[in-house]
């Protein structure tokens, strides 16, 4: 059975990837998961410099989901390369760095820093974080902005470049298309949905940043639809995510058109999820006689069975 997945020049040993911001720097999970068994690990979002992020409260639970506004607290690209990467390398992890920037130049600069380091497999360009005031989602909500930042980073690195798209747009497929045109090797989607929870007793927002990003099973049906739309539009690989909590959910994304899947929020609920989902996928492939996980990708059958009565 062939579980491997190709993302540009990179081959992942299986389609399961730890989503950015939901797996710390990876090292935090070394005690509970053998990091070398994952397809890849995406780091927390990194700027050039360290950031402290937003004050707490930073998360609030919602029906079948959660809102977060961490504010991209992080140690910065340089310290990541120095302090975390060696351990990740030693543990055999395939590391994708989630690159952030407040300006186009910063995206390029951070991409250079991580490209120069040993042991980075790809760059995920975070142009979709809804929780910070400057940069990020501004690029991700403009087709030109997306094209420009992907092109610029494309020129600055030989690593596979994977822009991560925001779902907070009218037509996500057009953004995937702009990314493909600009030379992206793949796209990741979805990042979180801009959302808000109010404490009615105090009439104050439940998280300090007022708005935050919605993730978890609640968003899954929207994310699946977006992956499916992008699959009709682009040829490059798609890393699909949004509310995956078990093997069935992962298969849904693969069948909709994702080449690999990322798991974020569900890892908080069950840090041992990885082996369970992988077992579930191999079990499914056996039952259905699917030899290569790649054969599942985009295999959704949408033929109409019955016509409308009108």
């Amino acid at each position: 059975m062939d579980l491997s997945v190709r993302i540009g020049s990179l081959t992942l040993k299986n389609p399961l990837v730890a989503a950015s911001g939901c797996f710390g720097y990876g090292v935090e999970y070394a005690e509970v998961v053998d990091l070398s068994t994952l397809g890849a690990i995406v780091s927390k979002g990194l700027f050039l410099e360290p950031r402290e992020g937003h004050p707490s409260p930073r998360i609030v639970e919602t029906p079948a989901g959660m809102l977060n506004a961490i504010g991209l607290q992080g140690i910065g690209a340089r310290r990541f390369v120095d302090e975390k990467l060696p351990e990740l390398r030693a543990r055999g992890a395939t590391v994708i760095v989630n690159v952030c920037g407040t300006t186009l130049d910063e995206y390029v600069e951070v991409s250079r820093v991580v490209s120069d380091a040993e042991g980075v497999a790809a760059i995920e360009l975070n142009i979709s974080c809804p929780n910070i005031k400057e940069g990020g989602i501004q690029f991700g909500c403009s087709l030109n902005g997306t094209f420009d930042v992907v092109s610029a980073v494309r020129k600055a690195t030989r690593l596979p470049v994977v822009p991560k798209l925001t779902p907070n747009v009218t037509d996500v497929a057009s953004f995937a298309h702009a990314a493909e045109d600009a030379g992206a090797d793949a796209v990741s989607l979805v990042n979180t949905f801009l959302a808000m929870v109010i404490d009615v007793e105090s009439r104050r927002p439940k998280i300090s940043n007022v708005v935050g990003g919605l993730s978890g099973p609640a968003i899954r049906p929207i994310a699946v639809r977006m992956v499916w739309e992008c699959r009709q539009t682009v040829k490059i690989p798609i890393l699909g995510m949004g509310g995956i909590a078990d093997a069935r959910d992962a298969l849904e994304f693969l069948i909709a058109g994702a080449n690999a899947v990322q798991i974020g929020t569900a890892n908080f609920v069950d840090p041992f999820i990885w082996g369970k989902v992988l077992d579930g996928i191999t079990d499914y492939m056996e039952r259905h006689g699917v030899a290569r996980v790649a054969d599942l990708v985009g295999s959704l059958d949408t033929r109409e069975e019955a016509a409308d009565l009108t």
Binding site: G21, C22, F23, G24, E28, Y29, E31, V32, K44, E52, G53, P55, S56, P57, R58, I59, V60, E61, P63, A64, G65, M66, N68, I70, Q73, G216, P217, A218, A245, T265, N267, F268, V269, D270, P271, F272
Partner: protein, 270 residues
């Protein structure tokens, strides 16, 4: 190394209209647990509620040979997950991930140990009291609640030889005051040369007051903070507490892995 146990509920004892003690069949967690550590519980099925919730390990129940047989949780009902815990019937499954977090650092005689608990903040002190008294540390519990009916497990602590100093907001049992009032008086009385460690757990304003008092009297103090925790393992950065580093800079520190027990003098209060 934390493990995830699909624990069955062995017993559910209601202490009041909103407090209960849940016994969980998770001996392996009990065997590994140290005072101050916590577990992440998932009392429901399905995606609502979605995330696990953090709870201190209240007791480690042991069999005749002293081996850990189960753990208990002291829970106060405030929302959906604690409601499920309050209503849980024996046989129900509650996934239990742990033990997690940095425990209390114990002391040895001649140091004294004062534990300060507010409400459900009592939870980490049952195991700590056992550890301290078994080492012969003279131990005092300052314990405050809204009313006398919410002061639990007093006999348990008495049996260990723990001195009890009780306060209630309505004056029904003990002193009618916040728990910090008798603490301050006792701190003022105690000879500076007699070593002493403070341990505190409870609502944040109480922790801040205890931290101030301990600083004023130059006493080391370990506090167990309760922040909203998404994962309990350092993955989500939801549980941060602003803390002052050696160089004076303030950083957001993840209380699930750097804590929940933190040095009171490093915490920056909002």
């Amino acid at each position: 190394m934390p493990i995830d146990v699909p624990a069955r509920v062995l017993a559910n004892r209601r202490l009041s209209d909103d407090y209960n003690v849940l016994t969980l069949d998770a001996p392996a967690i009990g065997a590994a647990a140290q005072p101050g550590q916590f577990v992440m519980l998932k009392p429901g099925t399905g995606a609502d509620p979605l995330l696990r919730r953090p709870f201190s390990i209240f007791e480690v129940l042991r069999d005749d040979r002293g081996a850990a047989a189960a753990i208990t949780i002291l829970s106060k009902r405030i929302g959906p997950s604690t409601r499920l815990i309050f209503d849980a019937v024996p046989g129900r499954r509650v996934d239990c991930l742990g033990p997690l977090g940095r425990p209390f650092t114990s002391v040895a005689p001649p140091s004294g140990a004062w534990m300060i608990a507010g409400g459900v903040g009592l939870a980490p002190f049952a195991t700590l009291a056992e550890a301290l008294t078994s080492r012969g540390v003279p131990t005092t519990l300052f314990y405050g609640a809204r009313r006398g009916g919410e002061l639990f497990y007093l006999d348990f602590f008495r049996a260990l030889g723990v001195e009890l100093i009780l306060t209630t907001e309505d004056g029904s049992v003990g002193e009618r005051s916040r728990v910090v009032a008798p603490l301050e008086r006792r701190l003022a009385e105690r000879s500076a040369s007699a070593p002493l460690m403070l341990y505190a757990c409870g609502p944040e304003p109480m922790l801040a007051a205890v931290a101030r008092a301990s600083a004023r009297y130059g006493r080391p103090c370990q506090i167990s903070v309760e922040r909203i925790m998404g994962c309990g393992l350092g993955g989500c950065y939801s549980c941060v507490v602003p803390m002052r580093a050696d160089d004076g800079a303030v950083h957001h520190v993840r209380s699930c892995i750097a804590g929940p027990v933190l040095a009171a003098d490093r915490v920056v209060w909002g």
